[in-house]
């Protein structure tokens, strides 16, 4: 861990007013962020190479991972599950410690959680590299991977449960000393996120512990793919909000400071986070609109809830647009719309978030299209879907995380960002590259090109879609360059930057909020969530579970049509 090297003299601006915890904080947050970056380095470059492989004019073999689906599994699992989780946990510790101005509860336990997640990452990586888990990041049974793959995922999830306990205990310790006060918005959002996460992970925990792990170990010999899909998507959709909420934390609580603006409405923000908490989970069936085992009634109900979960994002659009308008006016905007472009495009921390938001506009609109169940029929499992979620996950989420990285990494290292210029090139190549990918793959998807398919060796590719698949290569090249620039800056900041870090963490420590206190009753919201989960998911499981013959589908290794074991 590079962050663990001897640190230069501590910057006074970073010291807690009350507790001098800086060095341990740098170790803990630094380890999480660096691990996240190592994971990202493994996963990110396999993205562009998939575009090169799928372009009919290139059909390029993916280097190192000659098997397309292995590379795809690494890209999905390592980026979407491990990079995100490590980054979010490190960021959460930082946000909670700084906002509440107190050390997290039981820092040693935080290291235990980190250890669990790290061992999980190593186990999963091992199975992926040795070709024992070519099951993609959705790992649907009856396709079965190595037990170590599932164990690694279990360790990751258990680690995050420990993190949740640490964060909540830190909050309750603060609450004891601050009865009647509002908790800072960043902490409020963090707590709502981990509450949602803990409920959501129950689904995937049941799927792994009672279905996937036993069958991969040979303890049982059959499974139920339809129920497993429901359990996965019980978890799989809230997962995307688990990624998104930390980005929202940056937009709501940090961007106003970074743009010399002010949040328009703190209560509206809190309401948005509560709606996200409530409606993130009862929506997962929208990933199963064309599954045979779920009724039209349940598909419609969860479809309507999916529309409800778009509302907090639309509220966010209003609130953040108001922040940006104020920022633009301060920079000299005078007309109704010129504040939109009079932004701080030359500051990587701000610019990364702005392009993330622009991509999120596309991601949000395409998301509402996907949620519309009859439109979904035209798009499900086509390349339109990765085009959509790269606008959200690789757009809003990852670009905001990179924006955070550009101030947080210097703070962890105690040195200034290696190069602002490289950072700006990284951001704009990413933006344009991802938009090209999104547009071309969206068009190809409408024409019927399937996602997650090795088109480089496919027996049929729609000729009409070929120009789009070829054009996507331009996006891939830009994204490859962007990835390289990102790591030039990361390595430069860690090892070669000499200038001292300037500026303080963009954290609110005292709160001015006129939001009602009942929004902070976590026990109450947990009950609301659980009730809604039972109402929205109970009937789905009653439909999918086979009560007469139980599990009756054999497991298969991905490479052979012979039942396993």
């Amino acid at each position: 861990m590079q962050a663990a090297r001897k640190l230069p003299a501590q910057n006074q601006a970073l010291v807690f007013p009350k507790v001098g915890l800086l060095s341990s904080e740098q170790w803990l947050v630094g380890s999480h962020i660096i691990t996240a970056l190592v994971a990202l380095a493994i996963g990110i470059f396999l993205g562009p190479f998939q575009l090169f492989r799928r372009a009919p004019m290139l059909k390029l073999q993916i280097p190192v991972f000659s098997y397309y689906y292995q590379a795809l599994t690494v890209h999905g699992v390592i980026n979407a599950l491990f990079f995100t989780t490590f980054f979010i946990v490190g960021f959460s510790y930082f946000v909670v410690q700084r906002s509440l101005q107190r050390p997290i509860w039981r820092p040693n336990l935080a290291w235990v959680a980190y250890g669990l997640m790290l061992v999980g990452l190593l186990m999963v990586l091992y199975t992926l590299i040795t070709n024992q888990a070519n099951v993609l990041y959705t790992f649907y049974p009856s396709m079965i991977a190595s037990p170590f793959f599932y164990l690694g995922l279990v360790l990751l999830v258990i680690g995050t449960w420990v993190v949740t306990a640490i964060l909540f205990m830190t909050y309750y310790a603060w609450r004891k000393e601050h009865a009647g006060e509002h908790v800072p918005l960043a902490v409020f959002a963090t707590l709502s996120n981990y509450t949602m996460w803990c409920v959501a992970t129950i689904g995937v925990a049941i799927e792994i512990l009672f279905m996937l792990l036993p069958i991969s170990l040979g303890l049982i010999h059959t499974t139920d793919p339809q129920t497993a899909r429901a359990l996965f998507w019980f978890f799989g959709h809230p997962l995307v909000y688990f990624w998104l909420i930390p980005a929202y934390i940056s937009w709501y609580t940090m961007l106003p400071k970074q743009t010399d603006s002010k949040l328009f409405s703190d209560p509206l923000a809190r309401v948005a986070f509560i709606i996200l908490l409530i409606f993130s989970i009862p929506v997962g069936v929208h990933h199963m609109y064309v599954d045979p085992g779920v009724s039209m009634v349940m598909k419609s109900i969860q479809g309507i809830f999916t529309f409800a979960v778009a509302i907090p994002s639309l509220l966010t659009a209003f609130n953040i647009a108001a922040v940006l308008e104020r920022a633009g006016r301060k920079r000299g905007a005078t007309t109704m719309i010129d504040w939109m472009w009079k932004q701080d495009w030359g500051n990587p921390v701000v610019a990364a978030q702005l392009v993330g938001m622009l991509m999120f506009v596309v991601g949000g609109i395409t998301g509402i299209i996907n949620a519309s169940l009859t439109l979904n029929v035209a798009l499900h499992n086509t390349s339109w879907i990765p085009a959509h979620f790269h606008m959200t996950l690789a757009g809003a989420v990852t670009m905001t995380f990179i924006g955070i990285l550009y101030w947080l990494l210097p703070m962890i290292r105690g040195r200034a960002l290696f190069s602002t210029k490289v950072a700006l090139w990284q951001i704009y190549t990413w933006f344009i590259g991802m938009l090209i990918f999104g547009y071309t793959y969206g068009e190809a998807g409408i024409l019927g090109v399937p996602r997650r398919t090795d088109l480089g060796s496919a027996s049929y590719v729609n000729a009409e879609a070929v120009p789009y698949l070829n054009a996507a290569v331009i996006g891939g090249v830009l994204l490859l360059i962007s990835g390289i620039l990102l790591f030039v800056n990361v390595i430069g900041t860690l090892f070669f930057s000499k200038a001292p870090v300037t500026g303080d963490a963009p954290i609110d420590t005292h709160v001015v909020s006129n939001s009602p206190m009942f929004l902070e009753r976590w026990g109450f919201w947990l009950i609301v969530v659980l009730v809604l989960v039972v109402v929205a998911w109970g009937p789905v499981f009653l439909e999918t579970v086979n009560f007469t013959s139980g599990f009756n589908v054999h497991g298969y290794k991905p490479d052979a049509p012979i039942p396993f074991p």
């Binding site: 045979p292 309507i304 496919a458 589908v553 049509p561």
Partner: protein
């Protein structure tokens, strides 16, 4: 309660109208335009398909313009009861086709290009869909769910004359 700014209130009304409009469009697509999604029609034991509805895969003609296609998806081809990697069936245009499909091993997809058939084939479940082919042409059936190293070659053809 929560103080709501005047502009916030206007924005919320706009959100309500937009989302309501989308919802109405959805209802219309089902009720007026008749778009259908797969719904539960029955289960099978994938280890004993010989005793079920899809025991003999293939195309049968039910009446002059009505056909039934029984499909068993497997790693890595569609079984139509026809030999070969890319099986093909032929229909007259204007024919209605009832597709009855399942998987005997892992989860597969059943997507008809340039048409409105999009189904998951989940082992243990029957997927069913009624469609009409009005336009002559070649329609490719594509497996759009990863099912192993041969997934990209899992293609079949419906030729409409």
């Amino acid at each position: 309660m929560i103080h709501i700014h005047r502009l916030e209130r206007y924005w919320m009304i706009v959100i309500g109208i937009v989302m309501g409009g989308f919802m109405a469009a959805l209802v219309a697509s089902v009720l007026v335009y008749g778009v259908r999604l797969p719904t539960p029609v029955g289960r099978v034991d994938p280890t004993h398909l010989e005793k079920t509805d899809v025991a003999t895969p293939g195309l049968t003609q039910d009446s002059e313009h009505a056909y039934t296609l029984r499909v068993v998806a497997q790693m890595w081809r569609y079984d139509f009861g026809i030999k070969g990697q890319m099986p093909k069936i032929t229909l007259q245009h204007g024919s209605s086709l009832k597709i009855v499909a399942t998987s005997k091993d892992v989860t597969h997809g059943f997507y008809v290009e340039q048409h409105n058939v999009n189904m998951m084939l989940v082992p243990g479940q029957i997927s069913e869909m009624d469609v009409v082919f009005n336009k002559p042409g070649i329609y490719h059936i594509i497996c759009h769910e990863y099912c192993g190293p041969g997934h990209q070659n899992m293609v079949a053809i419906i030729e409409v004359l």
